[in-house]
Symmetry: C2
Subunit: 90 residues, 2 copies
């Protein structure tokens, strides 16, 4: 099977990054629709990192190594949170 490590990284970090942002910015929506919009937007602004893998052989640490570290994923998520907050579709 093929997987996009960027997608795994975004799914791994969305809750933590959104929670941190919301704690500084009251009123930030955390509904499923907004979360999906944030993840889709972030992923369209991150380089894809598809790899061939066997099911079950995915390690979180390897994910962040593959995508060039947590920092750029957090930056893409934060930027997406700001955009979705300004233009929510829920």
């Amino acid at each position: 099977m093929i997987i996009n490590y960027s997608e795994l990284a975004v799914k791994e970090l969305i809750n933590e990054v959104l929670q941190a942002y919301a704690s500084q910015n009251p009123g930030t929506c955390k509904c499923e629709r907004c979360k999906n919009d944030i993840m889709a937007l972030a992923l369209n602004n991150l380089p894809p990192k598809y790899v061939v893998t066997d099911i079950g052989r995915v390690y979180t640490k390897a994910v962040f190594d593959q995508v060039g570290g947590k920092a750029q994923v957090i930056a893409a998520l934060t930027s997406a949170i700001q955009r979705v907050r300004q233009h929510p579709r829920h």
Copy 2:
């Protein structure tokens, strides 16, 4: 849920493009490992097109519209087939 339309487009076209290439280039491998390598490589060279969607609401035609037409997907697949053929990992 979120899906990458580029991934759907690549999965939709891999067999057709690989078959056409192999018919012109005898000896082209069509094993699962090579097919996965080809798809991963093609996807890392196509822009990601993540969208939020409900399960079952994906239409093939919409997929190709979203990714800018079949042509660039076929080009990315063909380029990936050539690279995997030169450096097979099966």
